[in-house]
Symmetry: D2
Subunit: 343 residues, 4 copies
């Protein structure tokens, strides 16, 4: 059973509900987000001991807004849970740019931050082509401990300078909760990478952060599990979440991943959160990025995340999937044309 | 080693090459397509005994056009094998409609042929909305022997009548070589279903048929294997092949299959054959068909294959993924708009 | 609805049931196996028009043994469908050898038949090491039309001679119904390859053949679909089916396939048919075959299918996964030891 | 380039190498494990700028033991890297029990710690049946934030008491680096769950911990990536790693995961680290655990991880895959029998 308290609920009212629940079930958990949420019994996907607590005992108590059954899924990210009125407007604002609305959110840049000159060159090029944000990694999760792990805070500072010089938002990944306060000084949107989608500790900390989060889908995560990860963030207090489809792992070897654009309409039916698509990781091939950026736009994505470098062949990482500013310019032109055609 | 003979090669020239090859290798195979192709040694993906036959022995013999090494892949479907000049123009004509060119090829209709009245109603609706072809199954490959296996020749006759009444081409599946002569009396484009993509006996017989073939990708076929299946058809003499991406099998359960739109740009880079997309099987969900039809068009597909029924809830099969004529009409409008926007 | 007639049902009784069903539903199908089976309405996994026919109308009619609902799955291969008493004993006899009982069924030999001398050498070696049967392919389903497609009937004759000389059963694949009468003159157990598991035309013809069938699991077939394919064979009249797990297709590239030994206990719980395992295709690596043959035996498999060659490096096909007679001898020793240890 | 310093290398020698590398490449990283490892250029899987640094410049410098090229993979976990002599003996000791040797390491217990009485009952039962270790989760990574997240330190204390009372080692999962010092007070072997296999921050912290680590394979991790995760642990200074195969995610829905026993011989060929198997998560079905425990043993696993509860139907989590002590006793008997048979 999941009990959603009213925003106006007092600590006394919360304590009364906890007491009632504790009297009936051994396990009560409290989540402090925009509202307080209490779970009792096995919770959403719990075991056999859901317990005998009837909803009738709880839903008339002062301060209680809604009582949802175990298995209620992801009520905080759902489009319109009857008991929890969704906001009227889809999306949210980040420093003057609305994400999830009429304008596409387009983040572009290198896989990893390199030197300042390269970074500025890339920022200038993508800003000129119509990007909303700069993407650049300073903390890199790599398969091998011997691979380049990123420039850390030094990289964040370089990227921030480049973004500011060209009026771009900055998106960058954190791989550890300890990096959040540092990254939050430089970054507008904190990214959770595919390898960390199910890192619930990191999710909970980001749920308490005062920064929007771009949440990539895990390599083998179902859409259910991905929305579950978003629910961790929202239930912990952070409503500003962007979902990012970046390809899933399949048997096909012609591409690095299989970009699952089916996820776009499925997620739009099941969540009010904006969804963007990363055709760079989703294909792993330069020669496929433009086609899939077009496809993602037509499928209804709210934005794109694309790896761009002024000299792709010499990018430190992900060279095979990184495109030139010229190709990126063609993509932003396509995106506008498709959006207008389908308006 | 693969030896491609000239179109003008005489039987005597072919016999000379076979004799030379036989003298040097135990295994020589002959494929009679538009050109005769001979393979010697292990062939394209053979074992260890590729043999010592040097290309120099063969490529100067009369009637020989090209000698390709083992592992040459799919030369007949490739865009432009140096030794085998591709046709100047992409695509081909079927009864006055060009497939693979400026106009999208859109086949629409029910999963299975039902009664004549229903069939005519559907044909009228999809023709009015701009379909190129009617699709309707008379021989159904089903997982269970107790499921409805289709109406057979009676169904083909019903579908042919409906297609003719509304000036539509007819696409329908065969699941056995024995059905080819019967189906060829009614059907303009013979379909190979996903479950039969690797049925090499069926492919070879269709390679000898005088009808274009729509070749669906297998549920777990790599793009390489799919092009290999097309190579069976082309090397056996049938150059009129349409490839159809229809979703692959992955761990995701929110959709019936994962539509792999990456395949569109990958195939366009590796083959001159037209490629169409089936968003009905590719998603298995009515609420996703329109979004993925848009996405497929934007990705560069040459056409669409869509399940449409005047009363989807009461379709005999595939009800969950079948859309109404009204939704289909919105899709054809979208397709035109996207094509124009990207022209 | 699936109606299973009694073995003793007369044609008149069958006709009466068909008449009753036809009066109530447009689609009635008849399958002639060991018993006659009738399906009405959508069948096991049919569409929306399952129809109003009540079971009560049918199950008291003369000659009717059982009436099963749509979705009844695979009653003919099930362990013990209440209405269809299973045979007391698991397995069946093939020319004096019991398959599915106390003795492991071990088929070994080359991927493809080669020359008579090599074939005899292999047969002698595997017979000496304790094999039950010789496996050798004469009709090969290959990804490329330019690859060696097998020796055909000549290969079958060579393999038969070798098997007879060493008192082995012979297992060999057919890829087309047209090959069945030829193959049946030479082969004791006809194999359906992974690529043809869903070739329902081939399955139906093999269901009418008077030869046991070894049915490999498809590359991406669920266990449900695999049992459905077996149901095609059994419902068409052939009760002598051996299931063969041979690995499924996953994202892992260290091995050719992922051998799904989970399938062994799952199938044993859902079917009375014997199940054997192919660790050669299931791993694609010589250095893994012995370990996985041990594992399959311990998991409860009724037998093994293993690629063995006197000179694996020079095998025409599948060289990378083919083992020597010496390794094979160690495997048969392991199999006996594990069986005894768990007896 | 990866430079492995000698165990005896001085800080001065290390500094000299770093200086030389820095002069030639912008990116130098240092890993402090049992030996110091330096990487320069792109590292193992870096980008285009591997750099011109020749091995000849480095490998004769004082204190350098080996210089490995980029792409050298996982030298620390490899069986016998020429330049890094492996220990003579496979495995290691944990509080008097040798893991990776003649005796199987068998960890058994509930998914989650529950109350003390239940915990003691389970510990008594599994100890009596021959378990080496108790497994029990106190920090649970769950798909939904509303699911039970574990008892935390209170749970660890309960589990420790139960383990001590029955002379069992204790295995328990950590999901956040912050839990390591707490968990290390109670737990003998720290577990990394499948969802955190690629959480490189957690891996690095565990690499510095003074506790052996059981590293589960990620849901969609290749064997390469799994060994890469182990390399993170070993290169950070912790040589006591146990790998745990627990099933991968595939299209099959009859089982929760597909247990990939192929991984056992593949890993044994590529690493000196012990490998154990979890047939509970690997199948998700009680009726398959015994068969797959047998199979894992026969495949060559060094141990098993099994969910056991005195009242499986009322286990808080993973009820469907949890077995009784009686079934567990049969498994330990089987394991002994198979080990002896194959000795």
């Amino acid at each position: 059973m999941i009990i959603v308290m009213k925003p106006s609920a007092t600590e006394g009212e919360i304590a009364d509900v906890v007491e009632r629940l504790t009297a009936e079930s051994a396990r009560v958990q409290r989540l402090d987000g925009e509202r307080v949420t209490l779970t009792a019994g096995g919770g959403a996907t719990g075991g056999a001991t859901g317990g005998p607590t009837g909803r009738g005992h709880i839903d008339t108590m002062p301060g209680v807004d809604a009582v949802l059954p175990d298995g209620a899924g992801t009520p905080m990210v759902a489009p319109r849970e009857p008991a929890i009125p969704a906001s009227e407007v889809r999306g949210f604002e980040v420093r003057g740019r609305w994400i999830g609305g009429d304008e596409m959110f387009i983040a572009a840049g290198p896989c990893s931050v390199e030197d300042p000159a390269t970074m500025h060159g890339i920022a200038e090029a993508v800003a000129g082509a119509g990007a909303t944000a700069l993407r650049a990694g300073a903390y890199k999760p790599r398969t091998s401990p011997y691979s380049f792990q990123g420039m850390g805070e030094e990289g964040l500072a370089i990227a921030r300078d480049a973004a500011d010089a060209h009026e771009l938002l900055l998106v960058s990944e954190v791989v550890d909760a300890i990096q959040i306060p540092v990254a939050a000084r430089y970054v507008d949107i904190l990214q959770v990478g595919a390898r960390n989608m199910a890192n619930t500790s990191l999710l909970r900390e980001l749920g308490r952060a005062r920064r929007p989060v771009l949440l990539k889908r895990g390599l083998a995560a179902t859409i259910d599990e991905w929305l579950g990860a978003a629910e961790y963030l929202v239930s912990a207090g952070n409503p500003h979440i962007i979902l990012c489809e970046r390809g899933i792992r399949t048997f096909e070897t012609a591409t690095r991943n299989t970009l699952d654009l089916n996820a776009v309409p499925v997620v739009r039916g099941r969540s009010h959160l904006p969804i963007v698509v990363d055709p760079s990781h989703g294909t792993g091939r330069r020669d496929c990025v433009q086609a899939m950026a077009r496809a993602a736009t037509a499928a209804g994505a709210d934005g794109l995340l694309i790896e761009v470098h002024v000299d792709p062949d010499n990018a430190i990482s992900d060279a095979a999937q990184t495109i030139t500013p010229e190709t990126f310019r063609r993509i932003t032109r396509d995106v506008r044309a498709i959006r207008e055609a389908l308006a």
